[in-house]
Amino acid sequence: MSEVQDRLRQRVAELLDGGTIDLFIGYASADAPLKTAVHVVRSSADAEALVWDARCTSNLAALLPDLFKRPQDQRDEWAAPRVGILAKGCVSRSIVGLIKAHQVPREALHIVGVGCSGVVDRHRAARLVAPAQLSKVEFLGDGRVRLHATDGSEQDVDLAELLLEGCLECRHPNAVLSDESIGEPTTAADGSRFANVKSFASRTIDERWEAFRQEISRCIRCYACREACPNCYCTECFAEETSPRWIGVTTEPSDLMLFHLGRAFHQAGRCVDCGACVSACPQGIDLRLLTQKVNEDVESLFGGEVGVSVDRLEPLLQFEMADDEGFMTEP
């Protein structure tokens, strides 16, 4: 891993010094267990702080749309920056979506692809040591991780036990769109997908409702899920529209559910299952329960995978005359 990291630092410094890019978006270490910080590099000296490992959970593409919005107070003199970005598979797929949605100009990007072996889910780790907290995490090599907790206990676990569930089902660990790559490509897992959706769907309708209601009742409406998501670039989210007002601002359960149903629905054909929302949620809500349902339906009903080609139209922007009508009511 550190070889890739060294190479990354060196390459980013070159790209900045050579004038290929104005800034580079990557990760830096953070002073908290299992966390990294989003790091925007503007000078080659700052490139030394870049890291790349299993703690790099943020979907960096979420930062892109704002970079290409002309500031209000600047008119003619403003030029769009040339942006370098470190892209694991899911990040690159989000970038594809942003390019297709005209949120980000392809020519302004320099995408540095990197193979990813999955990133950690801090909530899974937290559950292993609750109600204590992680105090330190050591990556032992060979896929083993040592967790130190604040109660003084320690335990060794497989890295796979800590990964985001989505990473275990990831079919695109390498960048699908890039200008250059660092390190060796990673081999994709070929396990089954949508395990969580299948398991949830097998419960009775009232069990599902109760589980959904309880899960969503944890929400504190901080909107970290939305803000961490590259797809949520709307200037005004339906959650905050006041005319009409879709949802009140309280924690009344139906309002919380309406928000999460709306958010999941708006992900249709655009969610790459990067897990950024899951990592971001301070309440550890299982947001994949909804997004993966929509993903499964999009794939099974309309075919194709999200974010693998800049040329393919989003599934909700097209139709087939023969689209399924099995859901419709015949009198």
Partner: protein, 154 residues
């Protein structure tokens, strides 16, 4: 959208389902109109909301209607190929397929939410559809799951 629909007591014996029907202006609304002028009886449980095209219907309208206390929702537009705007209904079909599946997945009864095509010439079909929808909703009883209750606002 204001929450002006206050649902009657769910426990009432004389409960009648209330259905929000989003009908496209060019086909389904005209079909409903035809049913009316042809004096074809259909249940009075429906509150019709006329929209320019089924493609205009934000799938969140459906969730919002349930939240506002409607017992069922019907969305209807032109048959494939007949859309006044050529393909609005075909885009809509994809959205509705996903939303219906999502709602069922989280535990909303599948019979709460209905989609169907009705042309301007299908007054009888509209009436039959309404019968079918009202009876389906009647069978599952009053909606409770998504309903927003002001007294539940913390």
């Amino acid at each position: 959208m204001t929450e002006t629909t206050d649902r009657p007591d769910n426990e009432r014996i004389d409960w009648e389902p209330r259905i929000a029907a989003f009908l496209c202006n060019w086909c389904s609304y005209a079909g409903a109109d035809l049913a009316g002028v042809s004096r074809i009886q259909y249940p009075p449980n429906v509150r019709v909301i006329r929209v320019p095209c089924s493609g205009r219907i934000n799938p969140l309208f459906i969730v919002k209607a349930l939240q506002s206390g409607m017992d069922g929702v019907l969305v209807s537009g032109c048959h494939p190929g007949d859309c006044h705007y050529i393909s609005g209904n075909l885009y809509a079909r994809r959205k509705f397929a996903l939303m219906k599946s999502l709602l069922e997945y989280v535990g909303i009864e599948p019979d709460r939410v209905h989609f169907s095509w009705v042309s301007a010439a299908e007054g009888i079909r509209f009436a039959e559809l309404l019968h079918a929808v009202v009876e389906a909703v009647r069978a599952i009883g009053p909606a409770t799951k998504m309903v927003k209750r002001i007294e539940a606002v913390p």
